[in-house]
């Protein structure tokens, strides 16, 4: 039978990287930058965290010698720094140098995935392990620590309290992003930059500043998705290419949520569920059909994309200047 209590925690765990990725990309896109480098950024975020954790674990020698706070903070800061640098790179090229956003994004994905796999591979070699992966169990345990009373609440606890802190953080970040975008002055200005940079410029908003800020922040949030994946979802095991296409799925999710991070929380759960649904649908011996079920998230996204374009409701459209660079003297 379909075991809902077992399904939900897996669905949530699956959805958190997507939630980070899509929230980060939504913030970025609201500033008019279509960052197709997000998959690369998430790889870089993940591997930076892994490198940080790896070095710290090595330096300490054993799990007992590790300081609890540093165990979390070092990978976290490494991850944020790595993602931030990727964001800066994207901004320098597209905002300052007005390069084509699609090309820059794709180049960043090539670079980021390569970067992740290269350093991942190098670390694997350093450990001299037989299996092509690095296991950072001590760090992972810290990241996976859930609330102490979670276990005592049975099914309820399993569904709501069995996750590491990054999972709750993802939800908080998404809801906060939704609030900031909709309710605050900064959000209003950011949306104006993405909708009509010329208008925002005339209103005295510093376009460059907002684009840099939103894109870098977006990249840092997305990078956390990578970190969560390695440290929590994958139990601290890095293996090359394991992160897969989640970065692209996160971009799909942005469309699916019509650029609203609060809807993104629920949609991420939905996508997380769809992503692993094939494991729960009884298909008997027919393994092939499972592959077809894996299409679901993408097909659903395509349908949403078509429907929103058909309904053509102004509020649900992508930011009007998405994908275009802004040069003030070119009107």
């Amino acid at each position: 039978m379909f075991d809902i209590v077992a399904f939900i925690p897996r669905m949530v765990a699956q959805s958190i990287p997507l939630m980070f990725g899509s929230t980060g990309e939504t913030i970025t896109q609201k500033s008019g930058n279509l960052n197709l480098g997000i998959p690369g950024v998430m790889y870089v975020g993940a591997i930076s965290g892994v490198i940080g954790a790896f070095l710290y674990e090595r330096a300490c020698g054993s799990a007992d010698a590790m300081n609890g706070a540093l165990t979390i903070l070092i990978p976290l800061c490494a991850c944020l720094l790595g993602s931030l640098l990727m964001g800066l790179l994207y901004c320098v090229l597209t905002v300052t140098l007005r390069a084509n956003q699609n090309v820059t994004g794709l180049a960043m994905t090539t670079f980021g995935v390569g970067f992740g796999n290269f350093f991942g591979g190098s670390l694997i070699k350093l450990t001299g392990a037989d299996v092509p992966s690095i296991a950072l169990s001590a760090t992972s345990n810290a990241f996976r620590t859930s609330l102490p009373f979670g276990q005592s609440l049975g099914a309820f606890g399993k569904i709501f309290f069995s996750y590491g802190f990054l999972a709750y953080f993802a939800i908080i970040v998404s809801l906060a992003a939704a609030y900031v975008l909709r309710r605050t002055r900064v959000g209003l200005h950011l949306r104006a930059v993405g909708e009509s940079p010329a208008t925002a410029d005339a209103a005295g908003i510093n376009i460059t500043k907002y684009k840099y800020f939103a894109t870098c922040l977006g990249c840092m949030i997305a990078g956390l998705g990578g970190l969560y994946y390695v440290m929590d979802y994958a139990n601290g095991v890095w293996s090359n290419d394991a992160f897969g296409d989640r970065g692209w799925l996160a971009i799909a999710l942005v469309i699916f949520t019509i650029w609203r991070p609060d809807i993104g929380v629920l949609s991420s759960f939905l996508f997380g569920g769809l992503y692993i649904l094939y494991l729960y649908i009884p298909t008997g011996m027919n393994l092939a059909v499972k592959e077809l079920y894996k299409m679901l998230p993408y097909i659903v996204t395509i349908i949403v994309l078509i429907i929103t374009s058909m309904r053509n409701k102004r509020e649900n459209q992508p930011p009007a200047s998405l994908g275009q660079s802004y040069f003030r003297e070119e009107r």
């Binding site: 104006a192 208008t199 005339a202 209103a203 102004r314």
Partner: protein, 529 residues
């Protein structure tokens, strides 16, 4: 220079003083050592032809451009305005011709955009303040309405309220009435007068003399980037203002050969067009277009001119009515429902010069010769394009119309406005049309270029082409066109003879609201014939 600024402060408080402002774009001098004063509690009309540097000058006040040379004084103190934000700080608000509003935001959100106030964003408080401003000056605008649901005049109101909300004491309006109906214009003028009474300094950029007279206290004139002079509105008259604007008394004297044997070429019967958002653009329009004459179309911008031409060219979805094309053998064929290509093959050529000049009809990044090909590239059965003929045609157009370009392989975007228009009109004429539709063909052109275009149209007319000329300048229409159809709010409010009609008569028809009753339109048609 400082002395001069203090000197001017003697007669009235100068809210803004410009001294020796110079701005060049490449080799073009847009403003050449301009001195100008604007006082509190007055409306200054900044008058000048297209391209005389009015907008550039004001853009330097509003922080869009930065002057190459010169000084700006606000209330007697020298300032440096480097960005729109600086401009707000000095109390300068500018309402651009193209509104700077975010479509998916509400009026309130647009108005408070960019303001760095302390505390959290309080939309309700902002709406309340906006309502207060509206009540003070008599604006009518709903702060919670989204911009894309608004009419042009409402958007303009939002722009003005935005400036006032920011505490603007100096308000610059760039051709504010170009997009308004007469009623809306009256309403705008009423609020501007209220603001003047409130002690604000108002600059209105325009080239409409009657508005200058109706609203302003003082007139300053620019010509070719240079400051020509200023006078009190009450002491001057349209003739003097025109002379200052153009530099010499204009007697247009456009040739107008008698039409030879004009016969109907296109009969428009009950043409009705609705825009995608449901606004009636053309409402049961009746008239005919005759071979061998120039039919002028007059009307305030946005009265349905564009829709009319596009309907004939097959680019508009027509709601109802007929556009009958009369062939040489007298047979009639309805153009409604035909695709643009078919209509083009029947000999209808459209040269529409949009506001940005390049939006339709020409491809900015392609060279002259490739642009010539736009019309003819389908000719012949080969799958390949014929590049020889377009190239020759481009050379011919360049030579005959004196297009100023290095060569025919220069991208069109590098040509100046006038030359772009010559290329466009030249190409349309080269297709040897039976009907030539032109709109705003002399928009932004200097006098010489304009006359070249008038000559071209007259030549076509003499060849027996039915020419439709949609224009902005009534004087030109009255001297060029054989008949003039006047559109008002999507209806034909009158059809007059270009030789006998006078400017007042046409001006009245342009602003006659609601036009004439629908039933009467056919009568008007009969009368005009």
């Amino acid at each position: 220079m400082d002395n001069k600024a203090t000197a001017s402060a003697d007669h009235g408080v100068a809210a803004v003083s410009l001294r020796g402002i110079t701005k060049t774009f490449g080799t073009v001098v847009a403003n050449d050592h301009v001195d100008l004063d604007i006082r509190k509690g007055e409306v200054l009309a900044l008058l000048g032809e297209n391209g005389s540097g009015k907008t550039t000058l004001m853009n330097m006040l509003s922080g869009i451009y930065y002057p190459d040379e010169g000084q700006i004084f606000i209330n007697g103190e020298e300032v440096s305005i480097q960005s729109p934000k600086d401009a707000f700080r000095y109390g300068i608000g500018m309402i651009h011709q193209h509104f700077k509003l975010v479509d998916v935001f509400t009026a309130t959100e647009n108005i408070i955009l960019g303001l760095e106030e302390k505390g959290r964003l309080d939309r309700a408080a902002a709406s309340k303040r906006i309502r207060e401003i509206c009540n003070t000056y008599g604006f009518q605008v709903d702060p919670d309405k989204t911009i894309y649901e608004m009419s042009v005049s409402q958007k303009q109101t939002v722009e003005i309220v935005k400036a006032l909300y920011r505490g603007a004491d100096i308000l610059i309006l760039d051709e504010p009435t170009a997009v308004l109906t007469p009623q809306e214009t009256d309403r705008l003028f009423a609020v501007l007068r209220n603001m003047r009474a409130d002690g604000k300094a108002i600059i209105i950029i325009t080239h409409k003399l009657h508005e200058v007279q109706a609203l302003s206290d003082r007139v300053a004139v620019l010509r070719k980037g240079a400051y020509i002079g200023e006078m009190m509105t009450k002491d001057t008259n349209p003739q003097e203002m025109t002379n200052m604007m153009v530099g010499h008394a204009v007697t247009l004297n456009i040739d107008r050969p008698e039409p030879k044997d004009p016969k109907p070429r296109i009969e428009i019967k009950g043409l009705t067009v609705t825009s995608p958002d449901g606004i009636l653009q053309l409402d049961h329009v009746y008239f005919d277009i005759r071979a061998g004459e120039i039919l002028g179309v007059a009307g305030i911008s946005g009265s349905g001119q564009k829709e009319l031409l596009e309907s004939i060219a097959g680019l508009q979805r027509v709601e109802s009515g007929q556009i009958l094309y009369v062939k040489d053998d007298g047979k009639k064929e309805d153009l409604v429902g035909k695709d643009p290509l078919e209509i083009q093959h029947m000999g209808v050529a459209l040269s529409f010069v949009p506001e940005d000049r390049l939006g339709m009809g020409l491809v900015a990044n392609m060279d002259l010769s490739d642009n010539m090909m736009l019309r003819s590239f389908r000719d012949g059965r080969s799958v390949f394009t014929d590049r020889k003929h377009p190239h020759d045609l481009a050379e011919k157009v360049v030579e005959e119309l004196e297009v100023n370009t290095p060569n025919v392989s220069t991208p069109v975007r590098r040509l100046s406005g006038g030359n772009v228009q010559k290329v466009l009109v030249g190409r349309e004429i080269a297709s040897a049309p039976k009907v030539l539709l032109t709109a705003y063909a002399v928009r932004g052109l200097d006098i010489n270029s304009s006359y070249t275009i008038y000559d071209l149209l007259n030549k076509q007319k003499e060849k027996g082409v039915a020419v439709v000329y949609v224009g902005e300048d009534l004087d030109v229409l009255l001297e060029l066109a054989d008949r003039i159809v006047v559109l008002c709010g999507g209806r034909v409010s009158g059809i007059v003879d270009g030789r006998t009609a006078d400017k007042n008569e046409v001006g009245m028809l342009m602003t006659r609201l609601g036009g004439i009753d629908r039933e009467k339109q056919e009568e008007v048609q009969d009368l005009a014939e």
